[in-house]
Amino acid sequence: MFGLNKKDSSFLLIVIALTIATPILLQPFAEGSELAQFNGGYPDLMQKIAIFGIFAVGFNILFGLTGYLSFGHAAFLGIGSYAAVWMMKLLTMNVIPAILLAMLVSGLFAAAIGYVSLRRSGIYFSILTLAFAQMSYKMAYSVLTPLTNGETGLQLALDDPRILDGAVEGSSLPVTNIFGLAMNSSYKLEALGRVFTFNVGYYFCAFIAILAFYVAIRLFRSPFGMMLRAVKSNQQRMTYTGLDPKPYTLAAFVISGMYAGLAGGLLAAMDPLAGADRMLWTASGEVVIMTILGGAGTLMGPVLGAGVIKYLENIFSKINESVLHGWFHWLPDGVEDVVIWIFARFTGEGWHLTLGVTFMLVVTFLPGGLIEGLRRLSKRIKHGSQKRDKYDDPDPEHRPGPGKRVAGE
């Protein structure tokens, strides 16, 4: 099916089904119940998970396959966003041209930055990409303000030309759309004591994400993907097999930069604002962490990592002490205070602590990331708790190997 083998096809179908059902799956708790706080089925979060899933999948094409750890990938996300918002300011609010331009521009930047950075490997490569991204961030924040609107971020304005759309009617800003269908329109369904929101923007993101995911599967399974894994595994052997690793890594870098640009463009399509913060090193670090957390080199891992981090960020940061009080009011007073105090350290303003602890626990106990955890779980359900051999893993995905060799000079 579509050039995928049977296993991959069913895998893709499951992913598609999950994506379509996300607005329902992320809304497991009844409205008004104490646990409704944990519901994540609102458009913004679902869009973010899909978009950062794309970003992480793209990053994984570079990092998971070739082993080159870029610490400046957020620059392409930011550049994509700026390009997309400019397209919306100048040409049209239709998101298609904006997203195409975002991919194109970040692809060009990726080609230039990658060409230079890929002359070094290992940590030297990481620092080069980091340096380029930090430069972009600093410039966007200050001297490039006419182009980026600095701290505030690039926004739409009523007096933008928007050549294709013509003059704005009324005095409110136009909304992003795809051939007239607004991104922010939603269909709400109240059923089973829950409100399910089916949002055009989310399904648009989800469609693109599935497309991006499909392309990634094809790429993982292609000779090209195999070559990229060869780069990670042993560049010396690759060279002496008559292959030039450089164009392969550069192509991977550009593809992954374009994924980042696509994600940036989608961010702008969902919410037409492009801020310099998107290019900060912590944002680059975030995608690295999403990928490792989920499982580098696996197909689904990065998406899972992106979902977990965005969920923690958006849901845990909103659990304040009054919410906690709502949960634990049935406890005796003294105990309640203690319990609330403990929980408050990990939620609300303490949500970063949850993040940090999650990182440490996952990487210590699940070396392959969350996906490894899922695998162990399904193994245990299937076969009881019998010990698993390292290589009898039926999963079609590539497993990250222990180490890699680099050609000597």
Partner: protein, 446 residues
Amino acid sequence: MSKTDLTRRTVLRTGAVAGAGLALPTIFTSGARAFTNEPMGGTVTLGFNVPQSGAYADEGADELRAYQLAVEHLNGEGDGGMLNTFSSKVLEGNGIMGHKVEYVTGDTQTKSDAARASAKSMIEKDGAVMITGGSSSGVAIAVQGLCQEAGVIFMSGLTHSNDTTGKDKKANGFRHFFNAYMSGAALAPVLAARYGADRKAYHLTADYTWGWTQEESIAAATEALGWETVNKVRTPLGAGDFSSYITPVLQTDADVLILNHYGGDMVNSLTNAVQFGLREKMVNGKNFEIVVPLFSRLMARGAGENIKGILGSTNWHWSLTDEGSQAFVKSFGTKYGFPPSQAAHTCYVQTLLYADAVARAGSFNPCAVVEALEGFEFDGLGNGPTLYRAEDHQCFKDVLVVRGKENPTSEFDLLEVVEVTPASQVTYAPDHPMFAGGALGACNAG
């Protein structure tokens, strides 16, 4: 592969149905509601979007305390605080128009993206009908834009840039806090009176939009009184060590250093300037002076002794003796054990003003609220008689010129009010060039 195709088409069709069902596309649509998140049932939800991580987390925490206090007072708990001194008396301590006030909180992280994501989740998930908070102008402008599009009211927290009610003003957004122009207009006469009219000023400015608007405002106001601006130097945000920007000041004949910095940058640049002996310096036969146009008491603590005698401006200070301020300090201090910051004050006031506007308008509809707030004159909220100007949704009120206190009596007693500049002196025309370039647009009710 027909199955996936089918599924995709289904998705598109669902979308099309949803889209076709709407006359005007909005973030939120629900047939039953007249406007975004119209409160149903006996409660109304407000969204408090404050920095909980990053450099401004302490200000965010103080804002949150103020919001919680405001909610208590609106719901008729506690001692009522400034509700008792507020000139408008429509609020009865029964929530807002009988709807009990509930709130949700979120973390802006002082990043536009995170702030918008947090505000969106409040609107989309929690049904907040008003968003308020923030401790930087970039975030305020970004969230204000979002609220305009979503059709909810935005009552900004601490934002000092001219742009918030200047070129980026929005019909659904309101600012109680003062701005850079007002700082300049209030400070300049005091500076001229104390330091003389023939001063040479050297600006160090945080290199982003807020810094630039303050630099522009202060330079214009001081130049109008005869000062000369020797140099304006941009410093990177979060530079840490400012020594390489401070030392060049030594070689100029400037006799005043103006630090257009906020937060950690302000603390560090001021500490560095004092370390380099600038305050003991004599130039042109005059004492060298340092000015910090925007003071924040919370931040000033980080600079310790170095703020003593430094002039600046602030929106409000807990040592004010008017009835409203005292009532607020009393209820805040009793609840938390320390006096509120200016950020806390402005956030508390904004919440009350919103509630009051809803009550007066008799509706939560943003457009009704906008109408009720525009041109609203009030008193008793700590800043004297105040006007919410209709043209730009900026509050006009007295501005405090303050100075770092020489002999503080407690760890909170860091600033003393030097002068209360009357509102008339800091008022400007709505089309003032520093505020030009934007339009309020029409209110959006979603």
